[in-house]
Amino acid sequence: MEASTHIATDVDVTVTNCDREPIHIPGTVQAHGALLVVDRAGAVVQVSANVGIFIGRESQDVLNQPCSACFVDADGVRLMRALGDGQDWSELNPLPLVTHSGVRVNVIGHRQEGGTVLELEPSEDAIWYPEPQPVQRAIRALNRAATVEALQDAIVTEVKRLTGFDRVMLYRFDRDWNGAVVAEAAREGIGSFLGLRFPASDIPAQARTLYAKNTLRLIPTVEAETAALVPERNPLTRERLDQSACVLRSVSPIHIQYLKNMGVAASMSISVLDEGRLWGLIACHHYAPRYVPYRLRAASDLLGQVFSMQFALRRKQFATSVAADARQHLTRLVERTVEAEHITSVLCGMAEDKHGDEYGEEPGRFSALDLFDADGIAVCLEDEVCLLGQTPSSEHVYALLDWIADRNHEAGRTLVQTDSLRDVLPARLAPIAKDCAGMLAVSVADDWTSAVVWFRKEEPQTVTWGGQQKQAHVEEDGTLTLHPRASFEAWQEQVTGQATAWSDADVEMAGELRRVLVRVILQRAEELARLNADLTRSNAELDAFAYIASHDLKEPLRGITNYAQFLIEDYADELGEDGQAKLLTIARLGQRLDTFIDSLLEYSRVGRHELTAEEVPIERALEESKELVHARLSEKRGRVDVVGDLPVVLGDAGRIVDVFANLISNGLKYNESEPPIIEVGSVPVARLSENQLERLPENHVLLFVRDNGIGIRPRHFEAVFGIFRRLHGRDQYGGGSGAGLTIVRRIVERHGGVVWVTSDFGEGSTFFFSFPVAP
């Protein structure tokens, strides 16, 4: 005993013992009635010890005798006939008979393994039948209730009116079988239990099983004696009698103690079933003993069934209307997603809803967060995350999606959900659960790189329990006594990490949105491919256009220039010096226009033409570019010096040569030093300044072309890269179109690089630029 006590107190005794208590075979009945078990021949095989009170014969005299002997002759015959006919007891019940000793009783029978069970209830007041009127009235009230809440109020009000109990409650189970009082009708002065929660252990599993089978139970008084069955075991089954279907079944002493602790003297409960599952109870309490006769119990049971049906109906209507609303939201969202340039903006409600009017609403903001009840949403599309409402940080969202992808991508799951992130996340991601408890995520790309995630806060944050649960006590003699909690004072508990569960409708809606997004994104990709093809074609056309335009511009230009020169050649004398000078100006302007046309053509090519990607040793590119600027180099008697080692980069060789040619040419052109010196080199990673490091793209090498020229004022550092932008008079420093640096920048940026200039005015300039470094 010591050992077992020790073990028992180590566990949650109340729950464990309650769960194990075999309440369907108590071996006793409530003593306000008597019970007989008869065999097929009608002989009594088992009887409750208190039978003498009702029929004037003790159990020993009744056992193994025909049961008809318990009643007055005529009624004994009626009973034998009922037993013999194989009739349905549910149609006969209750059978009003007079016992051998002249007591009027109601006999309630049912067949089960081990014989027919006859339960006798005294019927002093059995002549009381509820008038049809109150029952009909109650049913009308239930039918009239427009909402689920009104229906709940109606059932407790009507059951109280019909039965006269002090308190009638509608008690609803949650998914963990904790109960909450969701409606209550109580007489004044006894307080309210409305809103209180009760732990699942208050109504243990085997009790719930019984409640689902036998929908009404009555305890007329908690003080009643119980009467043992004789013999203890049913001789036909050799087992204790299964009292699951009995009305007199005696109640667990734990339950009686529980009621006593609450101050309740009598109780009745009616089961509410939803598609066969126990949804809740209509629980009736009375603070004095209260017997409810069979007919009234049957009427109450009927009301319970009407409530169950009406409730299911209302809930379906409600679900249908919620689903209709959600579907309308979805339709709007889909319409706008299909039209939108930027899907994320639509999903996050950042775009105005111009369809508002069509739905009889003001145009306004509307997002995927409105599809169903959620506190926040993260839309992660095309490498961009948009958060709305209460969500984890974007870093956390990415971490969450990585984690989801790891666990679900291969399995092909595209929708995952939880109502307690805290319970499922690994420790390293635990901080995410601080912000949100519930998560419903759909993958929009196969690998979870694009996804929409809804979040819910923890809910409820505070639970008001109907009293604090207490541990069981071990008595001094070593026996274990279960003491259900004595106090039912409201007791609050903080519950964390749990969100309201996602409903089937929520999940369906999220799945629906996912299908739409996948389709739209696929269409977008196809459209993009089509646009790309269009772009390639129009690029080719533009190219042809550029050449034709340049030809058509140049031909007359050449004519003008040449003819001006012919005039000078042929009529030099007549023209005089002034005339010749003016014609020379025409020729020079023509050449200038020609340079512009060439620059425009080159710039347009640099911007549109596809770049090749090959390994280009800068040393070789530099040599080629020096050939291109050879004329200017020798004209200015300048030189190009290489500083340190030159790297190998990855890019379009021809364009890289252009970059060097342009920069060297500029360095020579805008240079008054003797001799002009151009230095070319690269900046080793170790010697990059902080500023350079910040600007330099990943895997790029920083190159420079430095000159000892005239330099650039800092305010022009950006302007020099603008097209046709010159800082000097057009005939100073050899003229030029001013497109060279624009082309340089275009080439560098198309390689993913950066270019900028630093300069000490009057001392020289250094152009820094980057290219991808060859692997």
Binding site: D543, Y547, I548, S550, H551, K554, E555, P556, L557, R558, G559, T561, N562, Y563, Q565, F566, A587, G590, Q591, D594, D598, L601
Partner: protein, 144 residues
């Protein structure tokens, strides 16, 4: 050196460009005949007539690319497809700097691809390449 240079065929639709080339050729000392055709169709007819009459072909064709009707590119393709004109020496003198044109013409075995400069002096420099070829009977050194 002969007194007269052999004749030169020049296809050019722009009268001003023709005039510039004509003047420049004379200025650098070209003494031969200059046969001028303004369209591709005309020059193809001219060669067809010479072949029919079994007359000798002029040594060199200077061809513009952008021409009305059959343009210079098509003229070149037709010449190279013709058994007896396949090896006719051709120099391109054009405004086009389009790399597609340049590589296309290279593949069709032209002697030289010259772009028309706006500057008259530069034009004369380029025409000296042509004259050198006429005088030496050798291809000019390279593409310019």
């Amino acid at each position: 050196m002969p007194d007269l240079h052999p004749p030169l065929v020049y296809v050019e639709d722009s009268p001003e460009d023709y005039e510039a080339v004509r003047r420049s050729l004379r200025a650098i000392g070209f003494t031969g005949e200059l046969h001028h055709y303004a369209t591709g169709d005309d020059v193809l007819d001219y060669y067809a007539a010479l072949l029919d009459a079994k007359k000798p072909l002029p040594r060199l064709l200077v061809l513009d690319l952008n021409l009305p009707g059959t343009d210079g590119r098509d003229v070149l393709v037709e010449l190279r497809a013709h058994e007896q004109l396949r090896d006719l020496p051709v120099i391109i003198l054009t405004t086009s700097q389009n790399p597609t044109d340049i590589s296309h013409c290279q593949q069709l075995n032209v002697l030289s691809y010259l772009t028309k400069p706006v500057d008259l002096a530069e034009l004369r420099t380029k025409l000296r390449h042509i004259l050198a070829f006429i005088e030496a009977g050798d291809p000019p050194p390279s593409f310019a």
